[in-house]
Subunit: 252 residues, 2 copies
């Protein structure tokens, strides 16, 4: 196999509830074209493996063979420390929105020393990504497409992101990482454990005025806490705060 | 229909001998996503219209309906003054090779005053573009993809080029064109008329030492004459030279 010219670690591609096997295959081809190899599938509609994937993958069946299957998004993020949610639609959510080129730049600039991975998340073909999925990302990625017709085919969206990453990666010289002593970041799953525990606590304490508002307020809290890209130590500290609060409650 | 935010004229997409209707449909969708609307088909394998195109086009069937059908590439270039040939393979040809981002930049910088169009050319799915087609372009566009797997799906290649154009176009402010007084450029078809006549003359004069070498030498001549992006006046002058040379021959 010819050695690739890119020296930085490529992002992971996460497909959320993908519907068509053919699209998964086409995504694998687009990934391999750009030198990406790690595909994670969260609850694919027709199960996995899917025999309809290989014909559209051309020679990228190695990516299909090594694709990882997950039941939920948080598990798929077990080693991810920086995540980008691709979506055409704007969200009622305080999340920074950037374009694919900016996402690529942030990906290649991410500190690699801690071993945490970068993920690009893609929603299902028809329904896209829901707000509770998008909120788990650090950034919303929105491509400035034709406003009269902005819905990209799934594999086309993967190609666009993968290509932008590749162009940014090719422009990046391997050098001593200026962020080598950056503290180890929390994974998205670390964050999710914290959020889930925090939300449960708020529920139990009757924090939410109405059941209707609860999911919206939870999402806003998740968005706020994620915005600073917490380190592992910071999430440990926040978990400590929850432990402390629970103890108080028990003591009452 | 929502007004698009791009103000420069988009390039024309030319598909050479496309094989699968589904791919033509997917190309139309990718075009419309990025705000491109003019599709030209040269000798599609299964004829045109093709009922397999619409399902993959999603809401871009307007592009399929207005697609233009041509028998040969030169006719498809009747109003094209700047052409880019996309191909993964390097050619034994003295043509500048640029990447898709550079092609996009050249496209938005092309003088628009003369009314000449810019075209992006794509070869057939399996066979790609042959040398006699590629030589008609001003530039070869080669994407620096994974050397272990560089073959893009046709619609993915169109999306990549269209997206790069869109990003360049969005960064271009509508302003007085600095090249407004650029002389009117020859179309690729104008060039082709000249080349065909020139080559016929050389053939008749026994210019080519061997029949084997003739196509290669012809291609090299085409590459050389195209490299300067001739104006209409320059091609007229060259045609005048041929007329003159033919007259000499008759007088002998």
């Amino acid at each position: 196999m010819t050695q690739d010219t890119v020296t930085v670690t490529p992002p992971v591609i996460i497909l959320l509830r993908p519907q068509l096997g053919a699209n998964i295959g086409a995504c694998a081809r687009a990934m391999k074209n750009c030198g990406l190899y790690e595909l994670r599938l969260v609850a694919p509609r027709d199960g996995w493996p899917n025999p309809e994937a290989a014909p559209m993958a051309s020679s990228a069946t190695d990516i299909l063979d090594s694709a990882e299957l997950y039941d939920d998004l948080a598990s798929a993020m077990h080693d991810v420390t920086l995540a980008f949610a691709t979506t055409a639609r704007m969200r009622d959510m305080v999340k920074p929105v950037i374009n694919p080129r900016e996402a690529a730049q942030k990906t290649v600039e991410a500190p690699q020393s801690s071993g945490g991975r970068v993920a690009y998340m893609f929603g299902a073909e028809r329904s896209g990504m829901d707000n509770d999925e998008a909120v788990m990302a650090d950034f919303i990625v929105s491509a400035d497409l034709n406003p009269a017709f902005s819905s990209l085919n799934l594999a086309q969206a993967v190609l666009m992101m993968a290509w932008e990453w590749r162009m940014a990666a090719l422009a990046t010289k391997p050098s001593k990482d200026a962020n080598d002593d950056w503290p180890e970041l929390a994974t998205i799953q670390d964050r999710d454990y914290f959020f889930a525990r925090f939300e449960k606590m708020l529920d139990e304490r009757g924090f939410f005025a109405t059941a209707e508002m609860a999911p919206i307020v939870k999402r806003n809290l998740r968005a706020f806490f994620s915005r600073g890209t917490p380190t592992k130590q910071e999430i440990r500290t926040l978990q400590g705060v929850l432990t402390n609060l629970e103890r108080d409650k028990g003591a009452q």
